[in-house]
Symmetry: C2
């Protein structure tokens, strides 16, 4: 089972690595990172580069497509070559998925027209403007399209997907191996939960992301 994760300049690392860490442990899985060119691709912070091991041309029909987010998605929303690749991959795929603003790419490719989907909370308006119906949930399933909310939600999205693909026991075994028994020191992971003082400074935590 080939799982393709595209990398674009200014992607958000955890958007890609959360699902990679889950999905790479599925029996028979091969995760392949793809980009316009092979080689290192810088994240939104510029402090990290991850390697694309294949080009878009080389991976046209993955079994699973997983689009990460980050500000790097924005220039691609009008990049017809990229959107054509997404449409082609979706035609071939069993599952088409995204994390964070990766869903904007699905929407721009016309794959979310009138469908429910999620994205980073700060990008809900952008998603709706592209024709999807934003739902304030962490994971949204619409047939074989599964979207996850912001950044860390990719772990929950991928575990949900792992269960669909390989059954609950294997998904839970992966969760156990990753020791995903979350105990955040604070409860401020959504705008509904964060205190006013935190909402006021949230934009400064973005540091060029989104």
């Amino acid at each position: 089972m080939q799982i393709a994760i595209p990398l674009y300049e200014r992607f958000t690392a955890l958007d890609a690595v959360g699902p990679y860490e889950v999905l790479s442990r599925l029996p028979g899985a091969e995760v392949i990172f793809v980009a316009a060119q092979r080689g290192p691709v810088r994240t939104d912070t510029k402090m990290l580069a991850m390697t694309a091991d294949a080009t878009f041309d080389e991976v046209r029909a993955p079994d699973v497509l997983m689009l990460p987010g980050g500000f790097g998605t924005r220039p691609l929303l009008t990049d017809e070559a990229m959107l054509d690749w997404v449409r082609g991959a979706h035609e071939a795929s069993e599952w088409t998925t995204s994390v964070c603003t990766g869903s904007l790419l699905l929407a721009a490719a016309g794959l979310l027209d009138g469908l429910e989907a999620t994205t980073h909370w700060a990008a809900a308006g952008e998603l709706e403007a592209l024709g999807a119906r934003y739902v304030e949930r962490r994971v949204v399933e619409q047939g074989r399209i599964v979207t996850g909310a912001g950044v860390s939600a990719g772990i929950d999205m991928a575990l949900t997907l792992a269960a669909r693909i390989a059954g609950d026991d294997i998904a839970q075994a992966i969760q156990l191996y990753m020791e995903y028994d979350p105990q955040p020191p604070f409860d401020s992971g959504s705008p509904a939960k964060a205190p006013e003082s935190v909402l006021a400074i949230a934009p400064s935590a973005a540091r060029g992301r989104g």
Copy 2:
């Protein structure tokens, strides 16, 4: 504030990327990935490479040291050059931290003698054999040494550390930005919680990790 994250062949990606995603958003933070040589370093699955942008020689006195885990830690437990580097970095650092089996390196370097620490649940015995006192907690603080449990626990560890470094409001703003409002589809993230059927197949989910 320089935050050094060493990469070694067969590290676990999420161990490194969870804390990177949190700590890179601290005001004034510069996260630098370091290795024996500059260039790509492969993870435990071989399906992903991340770039080391500096060598150990070039980064000897980081403000924060953050050691990821993975099976790649094991050969290093008797690598005196590596352990010397860890000891030197710890002498200079304000905070010395680890995720998963990264704490085995701290212990092998003699930095956890008699101290409480945590690691991946499957490595508790190894940690104790190296002189630390294993504690079954997600984040363990002992002065300026902070250890996290397996893989995904690095996010909780790093948010805890972010609060110590920059205060609760900034840590919470980072949590909000990462939308870290975890909602795992299952509750099997620790051996105490996972059902028997899942414990039985957990080793197969490791696929060369640890």
